[in-house]
Symmetry: C2
Subunit: 250 residues, 2 copies
């Protein structure tokens, strides 16, 4: 099983830190509001954050009333920042790949993951572990890159017209689940593509009921401030899913 730790690569870490610090990045405008819109009232809730990174969301869960948060991340560098910038007595940071959460002893009301699922090769195994870690009626809420993004293999991502306007998003091998290599600050960042069907069916097969999907696109207000985000109508960057643990009759 491939556990990938690009975030501890210095070149990657520096590039990533830079875009994360731009206030108007797509995560802040699209992914984060969508993720938080899927959360229930967090009062006294116990939360596991898979791939917590800098721990910003962990801290936000505490601010919203959560009683206990465990944030795990494969990257020591990320957790160093998390412990410095987003520390709280109710947050515990653990250096652990998502693939190993089966070893956790706690039970949780909510398992959250922000933009980490597309790095997981064994999605089915992860979903199974999340199911086991959740209390009755527990929620699994995650964001990931949209399958229309992860499917891409190589070449131009966009077809442009004579005015250099993006007119088509180019997709390839959408129907073929599996590993993709891409360049994101450094070469050979591995991502795992799964169709919408695989993403949803795996949750259902492992005992979840799907409650909502979100593929964020810009509102009129966002477009006025950031007209360049109109391209997200061609191809949304993110997919978010909310699922609830079902008790099965078998």
């Amino acid at each position: 099983m491939a556990e990938q730790n690009v975030y501890d690569n210095e070149e990657f870490f520096n590039g990533y830190t830079q875009i994360r610090n731009q206030e108007s990045n797509k995560n802040n405008i699209f992914e984060k509001p969508a993720l938080f819109s899927l959360l229930p009232d967090l009062k006294d809730k116990t939360i596991l954050d898979l791939g917590c990174g800098y721990g910003e969301n962990c801290m936000e869960f505490i601010r919203k009333g959560s009683g206990k948060v465990i944030g795990i991340d494969i990257s020591k560098k990320m957790l160093e920042v998390a412990r410095k910038e987003n520390s709280d007595s109710r947050i515990e940071y653990k250096n652990m790949p998502m693939e190993e959460i089966g070893s956790l002893k706690e039970e949780f009301d909510i398992v959250v993951s922000s933009l980490a699922m597309h790095y997981v090769q064994d999605y089915s195994g992860l979903v199974k572990n999340v199911f086991r870690l959740l209390n009755k009626n527990g929620l699994f809420i995650f964001s990931q890159e949209n399958p229309l993004n992860t499917c891409f293999t190589t070449g131009n991502r966009w077809t442009r017209d004579e005015n250099d306007e993006k007119i088509f998003a180019n997709i390839s091998n959408y129907g073929m689940d599996g590993e993709r290599e891409s360049k994101w600050f450094i070469n050979n960042v591995k991502k795992y593509h799964r169709t919408f069907s695989t993403t949803i069916n795996t949750l259902i097969e492992k005992g979840f009921e799907v409650k909502k999907m979100i593929e964020p696109v810009p509102t009129k207000e966002i477009l006025e401030k950031h007209p360049e985000y109109k391209d997200l109508f061609h191809k949304p960057d993110f997919l978010l899913v909310k699922a609830v643990k079902k008790y099965r009759t078998v």
Copy 2:
């Protein structure tokens, strides 16, 4: 509300009849097996078929044990063929647009629809009606064009390399639900695009639990016989969904 009846247009009907008669068409190879794989044991089941066309599926439901089938279609021409070629005392064909099923008095164990949903403008209203027509734990099983197909507006559907191989499927306005006009035998065939999220969320909002999605791609055996279908890995033609009526606690 737009109820569209292109099937009674003579030019459309003739073109459609021609491709439906090719034995190895994509419907027979991909859509039909996927649709039937989602059906439960049909013994004594009461079925409503939305957009039944020639009635081939209605007849197949009877062969598989269904006790009563109602097939509705907006096209009189289609139903003429259905009554001639797929007639049975347990099948009733009704000339009715899908938008009007609210007027039906019967209750059903299963509502099926093969490749008709993308013609429906008011999907939400239709799903609401289907919910009302179903018995407790009733199933709603449908196929439609894949959202990666319906999203398209205008221009080239494919980017090809120097050997004329299709290397990218070109998608546009995927994130924008709504009407699309396209040419399929005749001009101005209206289809309605909905993202994967809208398709799934609407079912959930109206009281269904989603059980499975399928986006058919070729098997090795199909590829050996029909190598041209490899392009479906770039962009599957169909999406199938199975959902069960949930009893809500509110």
